[in-house]
Structure formats: structure tokens, C-alpha cells
Amino acid sequence: MTDAPAFDKSVLRQLVSELGAEDTAEVLTAFVEDTQRKVDLMLADAANAALIRQEAHGIKSSAATFGFARLSALALELEQGAAVVASDQLRHATGLLGQEFQRTSHYVRSVLLPSNLEIA
């Protein structure tokens, strides 16, 4: 759970240059908290295809905004597949997304935010 997520630093770098480090840190924190809430909802009701699709749609775009490429790609797969895959597959895929998010969240809290985003 401590390995780094698939992450495109250049995307975060552009966001920092646009918003500044302080505001970027604020929205990055909001992203982690809001996505945690979404992931919790999804894991609690992992057979609910409509809910999975809706929450995955939001995670897909937000994750890509910060450069978290694998998290965004997993969310895209879930969004597109939620309505057509069997419920056990849906539960499995939601679990994978949850794991990738935990990696992302840990990385943000332990590496990115403490460095004042200078790593970007």
C-alpha cells in the first residue's frame, strides 16, 4: 500500500503554475476527501451499477486533473463497464479502484502535501 500510484507529474505541475501551490494543495486535499467519500459509497454498494457508474464518472475526470493516470483509467473502465458486467466482476473492479485510490491518497498525504507540492 506504500508504493506510488501511476502519476504524471507534468499535469500537477501545470495546475500549480495556474493556481499556485496553496490553492492547488487546497483542491488536492478536497479531491482526496471527496474521492474517499465516493469510494466508500461504491464499496458499500458494489452491486449497484448505476451508483458505480455515476461515481466512477466523477473520479475519472478529477483523477486525470491531477495526473493520477491509473486511477482515472480504472474509473473509466468502471464507468463504461458498470452496466454490462456481472455483479462479482463489478465488485472486483470496484475493489481494484479502491486499492489504487488508497495508494493515491497515501502518496498525496505522505509525499505531495508535506513537500508543499515542490515534488511536482
Binding site: Q14, L15, E18, L19, D23, E26, V27, A30, F31, D34, Q54, H57, G58, K60, S61, S62, A64, T65, S72
Partner: protein, 425 residues
């Protein structure tokens, strides 16, 4: 709802950010504030609808997915409330076709769409879109002029001769020569200034003034266009004919009389009509169009693809020119859906042995696309806007002289990657 104060001393206006995603909402709001907008964010359809009810905004960014609701519902509310001047940036995480269709829907509601952006947001595009809104003063001036136009004022304008024509050149895509011009109605009123045809033509149609207006424009176009026709072999003048005139069985003879009086050959005139006009009373339209064509007057189907009877009109009526509507051409370089319509339209026109005109060619990229699709003639701002007679005569003679002297240019212009054919001046 959250208010984000602008970070500049001067205000750009009020920005409403509508997005159910906290992160996107925050980022857009912060960028808006940095640009100088007094920003309010709305996390739901209901909050946004309430804010639009209570206050005015200069710009709105709108995410299409809003939980149980969607952005299209909000666009309908914006149109119902008459907020046509508010600049709208549509944002979507869905596929491009949904975004493009929504932009067309909003344009159909006469809303001011500044841009359509896909998620994840390109921050440069977002900034450009937020900065590209029309000035509020310009919008207010247009609205004020519109309020003063009445049917009586239009009738007076026709009687006083305040209406005139301007000519928008039509350029042969292969040779680069100017081969014709569309005569467009213009109104410069002493008391109102320049009145947009988008204002006075719909009102004239509603009030039964189109026969008088079309006769006036037709006579003026033929009389003024005579020099262009005489100086440029094969040159044609195109004039729009309204639905009201297409029930008048004496129209071919009246047009012939005008041509005779002005000593202009019949083949130099093209009568343009929309498919909706032509199909309103199809038997009368066939009667009139067949006799126009027998008299060697050209007939073009205008705004092709925007009505409800395009294919029936093509099959039943003897048009010899098809004009692809500018809504398919504008932006075709980035919208593959529009290119499919253009390709299909060219195929149909070829099957009916018609010339194809692409309207609304505004960029070298659009010209390259319509050339590749096989269109014969292009018309649009890339070449020239509508021009007063003296400027039109000058522009056409300069361009055609240049083309005649530069045969190498002509050869290059036929190559797929060649220059668009734009000439200096």
C-alpha cells in the same frame, strides 16, 4: 453555494460555476477568480436554477452531468428566462458527440455558447473560454436596436429605399477565381443605424412584407451586379427568394422582366431558396422552378440539411446548385460529425449532377476539408465578408487578375495540402 472573491482590482463580471463535482467546481472557480470574476459556485441543478432566478451572471460554466439532473435541462431554463447574452462554457466528461450535440442545441435556443470543453479540463482552453465572452455593452446595444424595429418601420424602409444589397464573393475552389456572389439584404436606417438582417428578415416574413422586400432586393441586386457580370465571364449573382414568393406563379415572368430591363443574361442569375420554402407547396414550387430553369435561370437549394425535407426536395425539384449550410461547415475541421454530413451532401449533389457550394468557410483548415470533400465553390469570411458594390467590384477584379497572372498558383491550389487560395488584399 460558495462565493469566491475575485483576485484582481478590476472586475470581469459575475461568473456562475455549475458542477456537481467538488474538485472541478473548485478549480474552475479559482481560475475564474484569478481572471477577475466575482465567482459563485453551484453544486446542483436546483442551486443553479435558484441563483439564475435571483441574479444576473455574465458567464456560466456548465457541467452536463449534474447527478439526477443534467445540463441540458438548465440550458432550457436559461433560454426560457431570456438570458441570451450570458456567455456559456459547456463542459462534459461524456463523449465528444454528446458535447457537440449540446452545443448545437444551445445555439438553436439562441444562447451565447463561448466554448465546449471536455474533461479533464485543459486549463489553457478554460482560461481562453472564460476570457472570450462578448462585451455586455455590445449585447445591450443590439437588444436596444431590435426593440425599435416594427413592421411599419420595415415597410417605410422598403418605400424609402433604405434597403440595399451587399455582395459576398463565391470562389471556385480549384481555380481560385471568383465565379459569383450572393446578394444579401442590408438595412442602414437614418434613425437606427445598421439593422441586422437577423432582426428585420424574420419580422418581414411574419408580417407579409417579404414579397415587396424580395422584389426590391432582386431588382437592386441585378441592377448593381451588372458590372460584375459584364467584366467577369461566367459570373453569377445569387438572390434569396422567400416562401411567400414561391406561391406566386407569375414570379418567373417578373424575374425575366427585370433581367430584360437591366440587360442581364438569364444564366447570370441564380435564385436561392431553402428546402423548407420549396417544399411548403411543392406543386407550385415545381411549376415555378421548372419555368425558371427553362428560361436558363439557375436554382439553388439553400441551407441544405437544416430543414425537414432535404432528400425529397432534391429528388423532386430541378435545382442545379446545392449550398451546404454553414452550420455544417463552421468548425468542420474539428468536428468529424459535420464532415460526414458534408461528404454525404457532396455525394448526393454529384448523383443529381449539381454544383456544390460550401457556405461559412472561415478558415484555411475548413477550406482544406471542403476541398477534400469535393465541394466546387466556397463562400465565407476566409475569402471575404459581404461587400458594398464598389469594394466588391474592386475585390473581384483584383483577385481574378491575380489568379489569371499566376497559373502556378492555380496548379498548387488543386493539391490536397496546397494553400487555401487566399490572396492578399
Amino acid at each position: 453555494m460558495r462565493v469566491i472573491a475575485r483576485q484582481t482590482t478590476e472586475s470581469m463580471g459575475r461568473l456562475l460555476v455549475v458542477d456537481d463535482d467538488l474538485v472541478q467546481r473548485s478549480i474552475i472557480g479559482k481560475i475564474g477568480a484569478k481572471l477577475g470574476y466575482d465567482t459563485v459556485t453551484a453544486s446542483s441543478f436546483e442551486v443553479a436554477a435558484g441563483l439564475l432566478q435571483r441574479g444576473a451572471f455574465d458567464v456560466m460554466t456548465l457541467d452536463l452531468s449534474l447527478g439526477e439532473h443534467d445540463g441540458v435541462e438548465l440550458l432550457r431554463i436559461v433560454a426560457d428566462r431570456g438570458l441570451h447574452a450570458m456567455s456559456i462554457v459547456i463542459i462534459s466528461g461524456c463523449d465528444d458527440r454528446i458535447l457537440n450535440s449540446t452545443k448545437r442545441f444551445a445555439n438553436g435556443l439562441r444562447l451565447s455558447v463561448a466554448a465546449g470543453l471536455t474533461k479533464p479540463l485543459d486549463l489553457d482552453q478554460l482560461r481562453d473560454a472564460l476570457q472570450s465572452r462578448r462585451s455586455a455593452a455590445a449585447v445591450a446595444a443590439t437588444d436596444q436596436t431590435s426593440a425599435n424595429i416594427t413592421p411599419e418601420r420595415i415597410a417605410t424602409a422598403i418605400a424609402r429605399g433604405e434597403l440595399c444589397v451587399e455582395f459576398q464573393p463565391k470562389v471556385d475552389i480549384v481555380s481560385g477565381r471568383v465565379v459569383g456572389a450572393e446578394a444579401l439584404a442590408r438595412w442602414c436606417a437614418r434613425d437606427l443605424g445598421i439593422v441586422s438582417p437577423a432582426v428585420f428578415i424574420p419580422m418581414a416574413e411574419q408580417c407579409g412584407l417579404m414579397p415587396a422586400m424580395t422584389d426590391c432586393i432582386l431588382s437592386s441586386a441585378i441592377a448593381q451586379g451588372r458590372k460584375l457580370i459584364e467584366r467577369n465571364p461566367g459570373f453569377t449573382i445569387a438572390v434569396n427568394v422567400s416562401a411567400a414568393l414561391m406561391s406566386d406563379l407569375a414570379l418567373p415572368e417578373r424575374i425575366e422582366d427585370i433581367l430584360r430591363r437591366e440587360q442581364v443574361p438569364a444564366h447570370a442569375l441564380i435564385v436561392e431558396m431553402t428546402e423548407t420554402t420549396a417544399m411548403a407547396d411543392v406543386d407550385r414550387a415545381i411549376d415555378i422552378l421548372v419555368r425558371l430553369r427553362i428560361k436558363n435561370i439557375g436554382a439553388a437549394i439553400d441551407d441544405f440539411g437544416t430543414g425537414y425535407s432535404s432528400l425529397a426536395a432534391l429528388a423532386r425539384l430541378p435545382f442545379n446548385e446545392l449550398k451546404i449550410d454553414q452550420c455544417f461547415v463552421k468548425g468542420c475541421e474539428t468536428d468529424d460529425d459535420m464532415m460526414k454530413i458534408i461528404d454525404a451532401s457532396v455525394g448526393l449533389a454529384r448523383a443529381f449532377n449539381m454544383k456544390v457550394v460550401a457556405e461559412g468557410v472561415d478558415s484555411p483548415e475548413a477550406l482544406a476539408r471542403v476541398r477534400h470533400a469535393g465541394c466546387d465553390i466556397a463562400q465565407g469570411y476566409f475569402f471575404a465578408p459581404s461587400l458594398k458594390l464598389a469594394r466588391a467590384e474592386n475585390w473581384v477584379s483584383q483577385r481574378n487578375a491575380f489568379v489569371a497572372q499566376h497559373s502556378l498558383f492555380v496548379d498548387r491550389s488543386t493539391e490536397p495540402n496546397g494553400d487555401g487560395g487566399r490572396l492578399a488584399g
